[in-house]
Amino acid sequence: MKTFALLLLCWLAPLAAAETPGAAGQAYARGDYAAAVELWGAEIRSDGVTAARLAALGNAEWRLGRKGRAMVCWERALLIDPRDPVARAGIRHGLDAGGVERPKPTAAEEYAAFLTADLWLLLAVAAFWTTVLCVAVPRLRGRPASEANQWTRVGALTVLALCVPGLWGGRSLDARAVIRRAEVSLRLTPTQFGEPLRGVAEGDVVRTERPLNGHVRVRTADGKTGWVRAGEIEAVRGPGLPADLDQKTAP
């Protein structure tokens, strides 16, 4: 009984430790969002990126009024964990109350959000190799395929077919970016003095198309297309922390 109690304690100890908020969480709780951003940023740099950390960082950035950085954090958190509740709530809040716009997900994207892009790819590759081996192994052995082999083949092909829309949706989800500047104009042409068609707000998510002449063609949530400067947006697929756009590049 004593041994069992010790084992239970050992199992519960990490869970209890996990519930204790860190310094960043405490700073966030007392409203010191700038400190929370600093601490969570340092934590991500030292301990690695997780969806929960990115989502928490997004919350703190949003509280500081940095819509663009917050949306980048939340979108990246959803790339790692499509069901992260904090990131999903943050994006919903931004859309409903924060004036942010985001393209409505297509059916393939909704489907792809069930798993991450890497998991879809791994699943598809595993199904493909299972099918290939089910076909190749009986031939190599010179024996007819067994019934189990046939069923495995059908199952693997079904999984592979189910992965196709997930892969397609994941690819489509990757081709998005967040507007990072406050005053961004959608331009008619990819030139410095291209005619501004309309404005897009910081934090808006746009679909990206082809790049040209230092500009990227984008499509907004309401379907309008135009060109924005490459430095005015940040791709959803990228390194963990949002880019610091004010930092000068090294000569």
């Binding site: 928490a56 949003w62 790692i80 943050g90 004036g99 190799w129 190749a136």
Partner: protein, 558 residues
């Protein structure tokens, strides 16, 4: 002696005297009607070679109301003469108009042009409708700071001239911001042929300001067409003194927020007719009309016990002459609720009065239950408002330590972008395909042994053929027969799936129908002569050829 000195003094004075620059000008016609186009020609003759002219247009300052533009110059590099042509349009005011003295700057020297005078008289017969002309369309009244003034330049063609293009529009507006909204648009049909450039003018400070517009239109005589390239420039210039005042404070409603013009409250729209308690919806108030839509501050909409009002980003629509004010409303109670009132006031610059606008509220049905902590139920009206900061709705509590075993990784790049992922898979697939193919080929050969047997038989036949030809060359009839028979027996045995030594002339006939039996018998007897007691029959001349042909035929048979 005195006469000689006088002559010498005259010569010296002649040498020392400096030749003066001669400048002359001519205006055609000399007297013009108001608004009539004219041409000005200035001729310069100097004592030195002049060189190129510079900054001609900057130096000349035409009088108020007169348009003048350099239309051509003739200066030869090795000449001391220069001619300048200007095209202009006379002012509307009668009397004598003076172009002040100005300098013509050349590469070598500057030449001063004296005052130039133009007389404008109403005694001159001039039909204004015959020639192209420009008109400035701008209201003639007091303007107000922040007002949107729509103006236009109408370049109207005449009976003898057509306006085909315009360019070089320059404006100088002290205390105004100006934006060209459309250039070179065709005039409405009722105004005749011509072009129109429209602009928006916004006064930005109080006082009297000078507004000037200059430009050039390209006019063509007669009918326009590919063979009529005789277009010429005609300048236009407008100068107006505009008076700007602030919107009067007297009678100004408290909800006035910069609207100047005539507006209509089109109505309200909501993103959802039946929201739940706590569910944010968007409220759009659409304002249309003629005025400074872009400069109106959004009306303040306050939350109350039934609605929370949050700021929202509004989207402006410039093309449709309308403005949309967007608010995010959060219902706090269930039931039938009316949206908060959206009110604003506008100042009409034409009538100089204020008017109030109110968007008719919408009635919505809010579903769900009232939350337990609704403030209005428990709040004491006398208590200080907003003692506790209200939490921002929607954001979930961060859980940075939460982790999931399935969802790990980096958002930097997907597995598909990893170096070697696709090449490794492709290499493995290639190996599997190669192994399967090899296994399949070997299995097929094992299942069909006749393929290997026939291949071996063909090799033996080719060797027998070579040996038979060698025997023929050295005249060995028996060796030739033995080689041919060995080849035939091997080839036929492979066809019939039998042993080589057991093959007879009849078997050869089965495989090679039409073979000469007598020659076959002779070949076999000579080849197997050592097995028989009787001597083999002598070989005839054609037997060797027939035997070799038979062997070649069998070799060619598939």
């Amino acid at each position: 002696m005195r006469r000689l000195l006088a002559v010498c003094a005259g010569l010296v004075l002649g040498l020392l005297a400096r030749a003066e620059d001669r400048v002359s000008w001519e205006i055609t016609p000399r007297v013009t009607a108001p608004g009539q186009p004219f041409r000005l020609q200035i001729m310069v003759e100097s004592d030195v070679v002049l060189g190129g002219a510079q900054f001609i247009s900057r130096e000349i300052k035409p009088p108020r109301g007169m348009a003048l533009r350099l239309s051509g110059q003739i200066i030869r590099p090795d000449s001391n003469e220069a001619t300048f042509n200007f095209s202009g349009v006379a002012p509307e005011q009668l009397g004598e108009h003076v172009i002040p003295s100005f300098n013509l700057r050349f590469a070598r020297k500057a030449v001063t042009v004296p005052e130039i005078r133009l007389r404008v008289s109403d005694q001159v017969a001039y039909r204004r409708e015959a020639q192209a002309r420009a008109e400035l369309v701008l209201p003639d009244r007091v303007f107000y700071v922040g007002e949107l003034i729509r103006g236009a330049i109408r370049m109207r063609g005449g009976e003898d001239e057509a306006v085909v293009a315009s360019y070089g529009l320059e404006s100088l507006a002290e205390g105004f911001s100006m934006a060209v909204t459309a250039e070179r648009q065709a005039l409405p049909d009722e105004l005749g042929q011509g072009l129109q450039t429209t602009f928006d003018l916004t006064p930005i400070r109080e006082g009297v300001g000078e507004f000037s517009l200059n430009g050039i239109m390209l006019v063509q005589n007669g009918e326009a067409g590919v063979f009529n390239q005789g277009g010429r420039d005609r300048p236009f210039a407008f100068r107006r003194r505009l008076t700007v005042a602030h919107v009067p404070e007297r009678g100004r409603p408290p909800e006035w927020n910069g609207a100047i013009g005539r507006f209509v409250a089109e109505g309200l729209q909501v993103s959802k007719d039946r929201p739940e308690v706590g569910e944010p919806i968007r409220l759009r108030a659409i304002l249309t009309g003629d005025g400074n839509l872009d400069r109106i501050l959004p009306p303040d909409v306050r939350g109350d016990e039934t609605w929370d009002v949050l700021p929202a980003t509004e989207r402006r629509r410039h093309a449709e002459d309308q403005r949309m004010f967007v608010y995010t409303l959060v219902p706090r109670l269930p039931g039938k609720l009316r949206t908060p009132a959206v009110r604003l006031a506008a100042f009409d610059p034409a009538t100089k009065t204020f008017s109030r606008l109110e968007f008719a509220p919408l009635e919505l049905t809010v579903t769900g239950n009232a939350p337990a902590q609704v403030d209005l139920v428990t709040a004491d009206p006398a208590a200080p408002a907003a003692a506790q900061p209200k939490a921002v709705t929607g954001l979930a509590t961060p859980e940075p330590n939460r982790s999931s075993p399935f969802f790990r990784g980096s958002p930097a790049g997907s597995l598909g972008d990893a170096q070697g992922f696709w090449s490794a898979n492709a290499a493995a697939l290639g190996l599997v395909v190669a192994a399967t193919t090899v296994t399949g080929v070997l299995g097929y050969l094992a299942a069909h042994p006749e393929i290997r047997r026939r291949r071996r038989a063909r090799a033996v036949m080719r060797a027998a053929l070579a040996e038979a030809e060698a025997c023929r060359r050295r005249g060995d009839a028996r060796g030739l027969a033995a080689a041919v028979v060995r080849g035939l027996q091997t080839g036929v045995a492979a066809r019939l799936d039998a042993e080589d030594q057991a093959m007879t002339q009849s078997d050869v006939e089965r495989v090679l129908p039409g073979a000469d039996r007598a020659r076959l018998d002779g070949l076999f007897q000579r080849a197997h002569a050592d097995r028989f007691a009787s001597a083999p029959p002598p070989a005839d001349a054609g037997e060797a050829d027939a035997g070799l042909a038979l062997l070649r035929r069998l070799l060619a048979t598939r």
